[in-house]
Symmetry: C2
Subunit: 520 residues, 2 copies
């Protein structure tokens, strides 16, 4: 037997200094995942170019490039050696970040390897075909036209859900949710949404009453030239701390945030009649971008643990900037004169108070993407319930339009006149994105809770925003969220940052303060 | 033994209809090379983005992406199975295009596989280090500073040349040349350049005398706003037949043509004091783009045989547009009023005759990239002789500055005052591009011969250009050059298109007509 002695310390020092010796499997996985993720970054750039720069005639070639790069990246992390490497690495000496990285590698491998290649291919084809038909069915309000295609997409999604559920040890719906929100569980969402559902209908009624008592806001009249809108967008991005040495703003049909931490590309589109829609797009995507800029760098870049935590946390960062910070009275006090100057206008409609009231108008409607902050969660809860029932088999697809209408009647008190304004409005299901919807509202609630915690932790957050200085807010977010990457689960990340798990009461308090507090 | 009979025809029909059966190795190679070339297209897009759109902070991430994609593409065509597949495919039933494709696959494989991986890596590092030092040595006119780095680059280039020479069965210099100009041979270049060398010194003197007798051209005075320059560039690109459904014009530090046939991206840069430099860049790159647009599509896209023939033919296409077509009196008759209108100017300096004389000014100088059409070949011949001697060992690197000066004295009658205006001016050798220089002048000569043949074949080529209609020229080029891809060698392609191999006399006749013909 070995005896204790100085030479053991010596050996331990060598042991510590030679990670390749004590972590051969783990190190090999790090190298493999780095390559796969660097290809993922390449894909992100190809997608950005497709949406912003590519001439139409380049579409087929780009599709082939992207499919090939995706296949190569997929093959890297589903190579036959991977499961054994994952198992061997489990037994190696790993620190907390390495351990978390290994956990995320396994998750990525499960999602990539659980589904047989022919199912993946069938799914891609069915989704593409369904999306094409949906583009015609939606304007025609013709659900029957797209029904057989959607049935095929749903059937394949259920097979995928089943395959992943077995590997992950969760329900089929949760397996789909896990693709977008790692460790997301419908049992927790059910509880949070039930709480919100109790709160919402009564609150919407009171908020509408409150709104009716306020003076109606005046709408600034256009046109607002696109280049002025872009200039003011760039000015606000700078104030928010967007790093133009590592990013860009461009124009695309739908705003998005792409790229990777060294090179973050956000987009917006310009409506010359309505500067607010472009600007809110810029602020929203800048929130996403700040998250990407703040992710762990060095060794954890392009590693699974170095990535953003999931769609809930990502959406929380965009909504924290757009909805929490930039619809505040403090921000609008700083922004209003800059907007008036940028467009060369003046008058009562450019007063901060007027712009604030414009930003918090509420109006129950049929369309999710046009919804205000108060009624938005209802749109999401309805979709979440429906997609869960469709995946679990509790709802027959042909009954979707009726169930949809029933949900709107129940939660918002309105009934869509047709399926164009009903279950045909969103691309998600038709394109195969099942399990995505709840992340929008979980993100909004997380944003409220994080912004509340940031203001409590640093008294200079709001005064900073009032003078266009987002430094204090950004520093808190970077320290408490961005720099953690995927080290923790979403719930632990939120609990460490705010002192408690997701609490619907914080979001409700935010809504109450903003929409009912007549004193402000 | 099989007897002749109808069933044999039946079998032959099946045989013809089942290429996978009679060409299993060839078909497998086609699939592999397609993937590798699609990755090459992706690389081209990544490079374009790096040069036009990427924020500076994205450089390291992009370098890693490009190195990884390059490695994957390289590994695909150097897989252990490739040599055997190439040999087996040689014995399979192939038509002329397939046979040519196989020949080009073998060439690509030889270039990719001949050099051991550690030499490739050492070369990339040495070239990168040398280029960095060169960026300081050039402005300082300090050849000694960069000499040890250049010596290392040259030494590794010679090793590469040796390795490829053995596989290709050619001389080391020709092996390097073959990277840029497939089947290019220095024996042929020597003959062509010797002919040109006899012609040039006397011709330059006569052309200068001829120029002295003409009225001096007047230079249109700037500033020329960049957006007007871009507008006129786009207008001229349209006239030339640039397909904006499959391409773009952007801005970069150095003009280039990137992308692939479905999505060709050309760039220029704008000097507000000198619209001609930007416009000539646009016309030159449009010539490259027209070649790419016209390459074979369908099955031959992303196959070796579907690619442009080589750098000589590619440069010939850009120079044919820029130098042959767009410096003609015919083109300038159409272009001059459009330029004057675009910049809102008028006066004698905007007359076609004046712009023509501006375009054909000659002035012997030290700098290749500033050289006129007449003296340019001398710059190339000097470099070709020197790099050949350096690779073959007939010249010691430390004697390069002296040999350079001697070349200029002999061919152009001038002696550079320092190495900044001498052997430090071009990036090529410092970045590892040995064997590239001769393609510039071979391209110029090829352009003259092709344009001459096009005008003879279709009498409407010049009248078309005179009214801004490049359709006849483009149709001839597409039929005789572009659509052939790499089916033929450069010399066979030129001979089929023009009736003879490269003939220095055609280029000389072009120079004589343009620079000495006082009657025009």
């Amino acid at each position: 037997m070995l005896q204790p002695g100085p030479w053991r310390h010596y050996c331990a020092a060598i042991w510590e200094a030679l990670p390749m010796v004590r972590q051969p499997a783990y190190r090999r996985l790090e190298a493999l995942f780095r390559k796969s993720n660097v290809l993922g970054d390449t894909l992100s750039l190809l997608h950005w170019d497709m949406s912003t720069m590519m001439p139409d005639g380049g579409a087929n070639a780009r599709a082939e490039q992207m499919a090939l790069v995706k296949t190569i990246a997929h093959d890297m992390i589903t190579a036959p050696e991977i499961p054994e490497l994952l198992d061997r690495a489990d037994g190696e000496a790993l620190d907390a970040w390495e351990r978390a990285n290994l956990r995320e590698m396994r998750r990525a491998w499960v999602h990539a390897a659980a589904v047989p290649a022919d199912l993946v291919e069938a799914q891609a084809k069915a989704e593409s075909a369904c999306e094409m038909v949906w583009r015609q069915a939606r304007p025609a309000a013709d659900f029957a036209m797209v029904l057989p295609y959607l049935a095929e997409v749903l059937s394949l999604a259920r097979q995928t859900a089943q395959a992943k559920a077995e590997k992950l040890g969760v329900s089929p719906y949760d397996a789909l949710l896990d693709q977008y929100e790692p460790d997301g569980r419908s049992a927790e969402i059910d509880a949070v949404f039930a709480d919100l559902e109790d709160f919402l209908p009564g609150f919407v009624a009171r908020a509408l009453e409150s709104q009716a008592r306020r003076p109606a806001p005046a709408m600034p009249a256009g046109p607002f030239p696109a280049e002025r809108q872009k200039a003011v967008g760039l000015e606000f991005m700078s104030a928010l701390g967007f790093d133009f040495g590592h990013g860009r703003l461009d124009t695309s049909l739908h705003p998005f945030c792409g790229g990777y931490p060294e090179d973050v590309r956000i987009t917006t589109r310009f409506d010359e009649a309505d500067f607010a829609s472009s600007l809110m797009g810029v602020l929203h995507e800048t929130g996403h971008a700040l998250y990407d800029f703040g992710l762990p760098d060095g060794r954890w870049r392009a590693q699974p643990v170095g990535k953003a935590r999931g769609m809930v946390m990502h959406e929380s960062q965009s909504l924290l900037i757009e909805m929490q910070a930039c619809r505040s009275r403090e921000f609008l006090g700083w922004a209003a004169p800059r907007l008036a100057a940028a467009f060369g206008r003046q008058g009562a409609e450019w007063e901060p108070g007027n712009l604030y009231r414009l930003g918090i108008r509420i109006e129950p409607g049929y369309i999710r993407i046009d919804a205000d902050e108060v009624t938005y969660p209802a749109h999401v809860i309805i979709r979440y319930r429906l997609e869960k029932a469709l995946i679990e088999g509790g709802l027959d697809l042909k009954d979707l339009p009726g169930a949809w209408a029933e949900g709107y009647r129940h939660l918002l008190g309105i009934t869509p006149p047709d399926d164009r304004l009903g279950c045909l409005q969103d691309i998600h299901w038709f394109g195969g994105a099942w399990g995505y919807f709840p992340t929008y509202t979980l993100g909004a609630m997380t944003a409220a809770q994080l912004f509340d915690a940031a203001k409590r932790a640093d008294a200079s957050v709001l005064p900073g925003i009032a003078v266009g200085d987002f430094g204090p807010l950004r520093a808190w977010l970077r320290a408490n969220v961005h720099s953690k990457g995927s080290l923790l689960s979403t719930r632990d990340l939120l609990a460490e940052a705010t002192g408690r798990p997701l609490d619907p009461k914080v979001f409700q308090a935010h809504l109450t303060a903003r929409y009912l507090d007549e004193a402000r």
